[in-house]
């Protein structure tokens, strides 16, 4: 099942399938190593539910929900 990163739950794992952002945002996303095929794990969300913190390629980074919208992630279908 492929969903936007925004919809991922805490501690859910997945593999990035597509990054739809272009321009500066797209470039920043790629510079930090969020490219298709990369496994990620959601670590948590800030107290106000935004931004989201993720683990990728042995380090942690955080991005806003509206930035996570551009990233499609394949997650295990857990029936929900």
């Amino acid at each position: 099942m492929i969903i936007p990163m925004r919809l991922m739950k805490e501690h859910q794992k997945g593999i990035i399938r597509r990054v739809r952002a272009t321009g500066e945002l797209g470039r920043r996303i790629r510079d930090l190593g969020l490219t298709p095929g990369t496994p990620i794990e959601v670590q948590g969300r800030a107290p106000l539910r935004d931004p989201v913190a993720i683990k990728v390629r042995h380090f942690r980074l955080t991005l806003r929900n509206n930035e996570a919208d551009y990233i499609d992630v394949e997650v295990e279908d857990n029936g929900s």
Partner: protein, 731 residues
Amino acid sequence: MKSANIENKTELLIALAGNPNCGKSTLFNELTGARQHVSNYPGITVEKKEGITEYNGVSLKIIDLPGTYSLTAYSIEELVARNFIVEEKPDCVINIADATNLERHLYLTVQLLELGAPVILVLNMMDLAQKQGIKININKLSKRLGIPVVPMVARTGQGKEKLLKTIIKFCSETSKHNTSMIPISYGPDIDPVLDKMEQIIKQNNFMTDLYPARWIALKYLEEDQQIIEKGDKTNKEISSSLKQFSKELENHLTITLDTYPEAIIADHRYGFISAVLKKDVIHYSAKDNAKELTDAIDKVVTNRFVGPIIMVAILYTVYEFTFKYSEKPVEWFELFFSFIGAKVESILPAGPLQSLIVNGIIDGVGAVLGFVPIIVFMFFAIAFLEDTGYLARVAYMLDRIFRTFGLHGNSVMAFIISGGIAGGCAVPGVMATRTLRSSKERIATILTVPFMNCGAKLPVYAVIIAAFFPAHHAKVMLILTLLAWLIALTMAWILRLTLLQGPPTPFLLELPTYRLPTFKGLMIHTWERTWQYIKKAGTIILAISVLLWAMMTFPGLPREQQKYFKEKETLIVSTLGKNQEEIKKQLEQINKEKKLAIFYNSYASRLGRAMSRVTRYCGFEWKTNVALLGGFAAKEVIISTMGTAYSLSDKTGANIPLSERLSKDPNWNYVTAWAFLVFVMLYSPCFATVACIIKETGQYKWGIFSIIFNTAVAFCFATLIYQGSKFVGLL
């Protein structure tokens, strides 16, 4: 490419490049020691650090390039780094990578190699890598990348010898560097196009004097603004044919793969890195203690409920630490400057020169250097939070709120330092905006942090509160604190919708692994920033001190008054004859009166009276205006100037405290008091802050803007309070 020959070269030029937080500054300090020099790249605010070191009789000039993740043309830091490498052609580029996070750090390495730079890779933080059970085969890594690789622990200097040796050897090899590197493949869609473009570029010598041909082609595919613009200027025809290739490829990719060249290129760079970092080169242990520790800490400090509480506690501690420990040194500075002032006063004869030096230069510079202890402690605390990695968590937790107002998670610190909890200082606040990368959000932050209640405004509030709200000190302070936040954030929001329009910059931020910083590293960070403040702010401040002094001193006394004082003096001397003690006392009295008369006649005081035509709308009289003018030097001066102005116009000459005077003054009441409080909170930043704004934005216009804009905002709010109260019949 170039070749360097040590024999006929007296100095090697070495550039340090790396991601933020890779330990670049640590290595730079380790290599250069105290022999370094910080300046700005011409016209922009990116810092340029250079230092010199010597090894085996060869002198090395080392440049610390700005920390970047990439080498595109999107951010000013990346452009600076890239331009330096291309234009200055350093003999070698030392690329520092964090060994515990190699995959991402090599992304920059790959781009340096694409650019054809002579790269030496330093694997830093080997101590941490070891602790985390990461094993790296240095030789194989070096072979695969085709460049020398040196493992290091920059923090302890371990590996420094080896690095220096490698640099010398590398630079003395006359053979062309980097040709051994296998060109990276960008896949079957892009490679053939790149080949064709490369051919055209080579045939026409299109910018090949500056860049490698394949790299130019790559940048056209990535739609790099800087290179395309340059290309257009160099040869319009070739440039547009290259653009045509790029366009066609883009269309092709959109149709077949629903993607675009930039994305595919990045994918292949990471693909190349993965190929380099196969199991035989790097091996991760299953258990990683440091990162697990970081996860555990994060679980607590970014927790929904506990996180914000811990944050407030930590920020409050920073505050307490700064203002508690800087209190004494600030006093010492004051004592020192008044001592010097008194000394000069006793050496030089009374007159305009003495007055210029004592009241103009020493007092003015003293007022500014008085901030130094605060800056030192504040920057020490910030450096600590920054180097441990906590600051990134603060940005993470508060970004949602600040974003609403067109700001950024990284703006938080600047607001807090400037007086978000009453008692900060806007000078280090403005300087703390350096963690913000986008210029619009940064300028919006810089322009609104002076609205916060800095420590110098507090004594002014204290006097007014004592006069009009003696029983409600805490309540009034709380209202003023909340009001400052509300107005500052609203103004930031308005600025971002008008003058500083633009989409929010991506937030995307690394949350670094928690690390314990070294004391030495913290001291170096602190000292660098402090010294910059002293140096740069010092020049502007000196000029303005002299100007303010002149305004409060000239044009001096009119002739008849001069005569009046002269006569009085002679009268005293002649009547009291031998009583030296009494003569001295009375002459001093006269001198005091004379000073007040000079002040009354000064341009500042005239200006104050002229201004009352406008300020009467918010209920201020001329004496208040003069005090507010003086407050431009430093906000606490408002109180002393008001004291002077009010006692001056008190004909009885009674010696009573200012707050009592104000509470009895018919022109003052609690409505004027509120208008005044709000005005003081909002109006023009003091000139030390203005100097910093100019320095940090790199433009005079923002300094001048902040004076006018903030004063206008202050006037509007004060008028609103005063006229509003009048309207509803409170007055």
